[in-house]
Amino acid sequence: MRDARGDIKRPIGLRLWLSGGWLTLLALAAIFAPLIAPQDPLAQDLFTSRLPPFWDAKAEAGYLLGSDSLGRDVLSRIVYGARLALIVALVAGTLTCLVGGTLGLIAGYYRGWPDRIISRFVDIWMAFPPVLFAILLIAVLGPGLISIIIAIVVIDWTRFARVIRAEAMSQGVMDYVASAQVAGRGRFGTMITEILPNVLPTMVALLTLEMGIAVIVEAILSFVNLSISTDSPTWGGMISEGRTSVHQAWWVLVFPLITLFLTVLSFSQLGEGLKDRFDPVLR
């Protein structure tokens, strides 16, 4: 009585390949930045200022994507900028997921007063405009990597809390949860063995989405000069600087922008793709 679906493995979709590929490339670039970057990302040189990208006749070897008004290599700065972007994405994304996911799971599964407290908190939290909130927070905490990460977690945990709460709630009324409890497993044990596996696919999708958002938030904060100290290259910082010289050297603005766009898109696509593969029902 073999069912028609058998044990056929679905091939990894193009979506997963492309998004995963881009992020892997980025991760490698970030890890091996000193080996990959053709120039010192901080080295200023007025003789090489505003060099156009490689296809232009006035391009110079070693400056593949051109240089900015201070003569710094755009490609090298993007490669080094990936370090900060990915660290923020990973750390802030994971922390947000842990904080928001845990609170959402507890609220949705235990209901009652834990839910009332957490949900009220979420409601109040969501009333703050997020970007203003972030800027305010950084202003209080002072700029720096840790501040950025804290700001992202503090602002975005509500997204996880709300979605995971709803999922946990709909799982909680299922008969299998009742049977597990009747079998003598405690409330907490039931939550971990019965509910958590069912909200995991959603959590993974949200997590990758959050990583993309973290990259954007970091870029926005760099853009308004609230991120890390100005001398370490960040994509947001590059975009901010490129903006002022966009008529003379558009590439200083456009290349980091494209990188940012592709990265954020890849994170969200990776999430969707992984959700499909993680979820036994969709698989």
Partner: protein, 289 residues
């Protein structure tokens, strides 16, 4: 003989007071099959859930007693109550889709019960699960143990739930309309399976259904429930010969028979329904609800 499960004057209401079960009393003797019939929404599932302690949050037990093996469950603290119920009773649920965890494989879902309830070792539990799956006529049990619920048909899922209910050798099984989600041919197999398993394991069975034809085949005694109130409580033979309550009589008259399949398809008359409703209202008034 002293009943194994004895529900006495059980009143279950919504949190704001609307009654769901109205002073329900019923007995299930050890090793016997007790039928519980009633139309949709009568409160059949809630009786089962009240016994197992898994009522939805909106509902609560207002008064009454639930005696299981000589102990009134409602006097026990929740955790001990659950432990007792888990060790002696099991449920075959109404909906085989929501009764299995969609993101876990079948094997662990059965063995976990044995580990949780009987404290068995995982390997022993696995062997037992394989035997049980074979006992409910599941082909290739080893493969099914590795499957996810959505990879199996509804009939197979229901068999798995039956196997899992009998796993820890409970003394009482509550089967909540175990065949309504299945098509007629599979229904028959599953019914026979439950009856066989019940006879072989000597389990007391509270069999919830709205099919009097099925009741006549498998049950020893039965209760008829209407709007959360037991209107008739009888031994099988007496019930089919001389139903006491007009609602039961009408219900019986409405059941199609093999000899006269269409002629006997009569709806329950409106006057009968009205009379029962009045009866229920009077009961509520007396109870001060």
């Amino acid at each position: 003989m002293k009943p194994y499960l004895s529900i006495r004057n059980l009143c279950v209401t919504l949190k704001h007071g609307a009654p769901i079960l109205r002073s329900v009393s019923l007995d299930v003797s050890a090793g016997q099959v007790h039928g519980l019939v009633g139309e949709s929404g009568a409160g059949k599932s809630m009786i089962g859930k009240a016994v197992l302690g898994t009522l939805p949050r909106a509902l609560h037990i207002r008064s009454g007693e639930i005696w299981l093996d000589g102990v009134d469950l409602l006097t026990l603290p929740l955790q001990e109550r659950r432990k007792r119920i888990g060790a002696t009773a099991a449920l075959i649920p109404q909906d085989p889709l929501t009764a299995l965890n969609p993101s876990r494989r079948i094997g662990p879902q059965i063995t976990k019960r044995l580990v949780d309830i009987l404290g068995w070792h995982k390997n022993a539990a696995e062997d037992r699960a394989l035997d049980l799956l074979a006992e409910v006529h599941i082909p290739d049990p080893a493969r099914v143990m590795r499957s996810y619920p959505h990879e199996l048909s509804g009939g197979m899922r229901q068999r798995i739930l039956i196997a899992s209910a009998f796993a820890a050798e409970p003394k009482l099984i509550i089967a909540d309309e175990p065949t309504t989600a299945l098509d007629v041919t599979v229904q028959k197999q599953i019914l026979r399976l439950i009856a066989d398993m019940q006879a072989r394991h000597g389990t007391a069975l509270l069999f919830v259904t709205h099919d009097l034809g099925v009741v006549s085949k498998v049950c020893d005694t039965l209760s008829v429930l209407y709007a959360g109130k037991v209107v008739e409580d009888a031994r099988m033979q007496r019930f089919f010969m001389r139903p006491v309550h007009p609602y039961s009589a009408a219900l019986l008259a409405a059941t199609p028979t093999y000899t006269n399949p269409t002629g006997s398809l009569k709806p329950v008359p409106a006057t009968v329904i009205e009379d029962v409703e009045t009866e229920v209202q009077q009961h509520d008034m007396r109870a001060g609800l």
